[in-house]
Amino acid sequence: MSSSAPKKAVDMQKYLKQSLETLFKNNRDWASSKRSTDPAFFDKLADGQAPNYLYIGCSDSRVPANEIMGLEAGEVFVHRNIANLVPNTDLSAMSVINYAVRHLHVKHIIVCGHYNCGGVKAALTPADLGLLNPWLRNIRDVYRLHEKELDQIADEGARYNRLIELNVIESCRNVIKTAAVQQSFQQHGYPIVHGLVFDLHDGLLKDLHVDFEKTLADIKKIYCLSPGSQSEEKE
């Protein structure tokens, strides 16, 4: 995989330098066009952030959070990893949720997957992917949780798509399991957790209509971390 030789080293260096420089040019254009439509745009951002949304999505380059939701800088707090997972022991995702809920007081948490997800595809493949194995095993666990439903889908593509949806729903569930979300919802009535899937074929978001309150009630039998409305905030 890593054996193909680069073009002439000098050409490659020149190309890399130039392609990066274009980013800085794009960035200056973007900043000045923002400023020309709203002279105070960056001044407002410099004062701090108050996003309404936390977006947890896939690292995939084809699914840029702000663009697909038509949101500006300052409107959405973003965590992106391989296959939009929220593993229960992942300190990275747990820290993001904690900060977004307890310190930024986001009103909505959006877990967004996408069809054609390479991570989910890889998790369906019998291959040793080294470092990626333990991460992707979370997706195999989602399959095991929904084995009966998935095995009944004869068409391979339809089964793959359904696993992508179920993976989003399980991530939503893991978000709802956190103390931060349970306690904030009990105290303030937010955040609400949503599951979406982005379709690369047409650029549209599909709402999986995760029933937040029902899911919360369901998981509370086992995962309740908010006994009583006067509870202290604990991890």
């Binding site: 951002l45 380059s61 949101l71 593993p87 993001v96 904690n98 009103k107 990626l132 991890e235």
Partner: protein, 288 residues
């Protein structure tokens, strides 16, 4: 609201113009500018920023709202931001399809991003927008304060996948001014689960304590932002998969700082000495 919002998205206009100039998506980052053009005015470099809001948010409690299951805004207004977001997506999809008829059909066949972006979750730092790029251009990992723990499986899996499998050409670590995580690490309040996450920042703070204490609060925070980017780059280049890609195919690793008060990115000088590079290869590079 939607029409107005779309109308004031110059990013799209810039991209649309770009697309008329070049025939294909992959050429959207064509070279054109000389190296020194991305130096930003020194005023920006030293521009003071306030960490007060990010600090205060750690203590700030919003006014308690009546528990509500409806998806209304916090101030009780009737604008349902979530529904609005979904509606905006439909407009975005239609507009993008109009401006770039080949984009979605191409995206559905796979991704070949040239850039891996390791940045902060902060809402003010939308990587693809700020670089004027399109869907398909940037593979993205964003976490609290763009910290890379050496053993963190989440960022480790992202880097492995992007470098080894997608063969990106650039790895970018981007920090930003007014970072709430940095502000927290400059303070001494307990933050629960965030404390272990922020440990690497405190380690950097400890190693540079004298320097940081010699600066004003704003300057010290900005310095820690920079040192944190360098530390994350350090972790990136401790990974053998990255060292191999640098040696074998010229992968480049960059450190950037985004100024939220101006919207401008600047690149840090992160050139290592030959001795440092040799030591790094000896200590971290494993056999292919």
């Amino acid at each position: 609201m939607n029409a107005a919002r779309l109308a004031v998205q110059p990013g799209f206009v810039a991209r649309a113009k770009l697309a008329q100039d070049v025939p294909s998506r992959r050429q959207s980052i064509l070279p054109s500018f000389s190296q020194n053009t991305y130096a930003i005015p020194s005023a920006h470099r030293l521009s003071p920023f306030s960490t007060s809001s990010s600090l205060s948010c750690a203590n700030h409690k919003p006014p308690a709202l009546k528990p509500s299951t409806s998806q209304t805004d916090s101030d009780g207004s009737s604008i349902d931001k979530y529904t609005a977001g979904l509606r905006q997506n439909q407009e975005w999809a239609a507009q993008t399809a109009r401006e770039h008829p080949d984009l979605f059909p191409t995206l559905a066949t796979g991704q070949q991003p040239q850039i891996l972006w390791l940045g902060c979750s902060d809402s003010r730092c939308p990587e693809t927008s700020m670089m004027g790029l399109q869907p398909g251009d940037v593979f993205v990992h964003r976490n609290i304060a763009n910290i890379l723990h050496p053993g963190d499986l989440s960022s480790g899996a992202v880097i492995e996948y992007a470098v080894q499998h997608l063969r990106v050409k650039h790895v970018v670590v981007c920090g930003h001014t007014s970072c709430g995580g940095v502000a927290a690490a400059m303070g001494n309040k307990p933050l629960g689960i965030l404390d272990p996450w922020l440990l690497p920042l405190r380690q950097v703070r400890e190693r540079n304590l004298a320097l940081l204490q010699s600066l004003s609060a704003d300057e010290a925070a900005l310095k820690l932002v920079e040192l944190n980017v360098r530390e994350s780059l350090n972790v990136v280049t401790q990974k053998s998969v990255v060292l191999n890609a640098i040696q074998e195919r010229g992968l480049e690793v960059h450190g950037l700082i985004y100024d939220v008060a101006s919207g401008v990115l600047r690149e840090l000088d992160t050139q290592d000495s030959q001795d440092a590079i040799r030591a790094r290869l000896v200590a971290f590079k494993t056999e292919n």
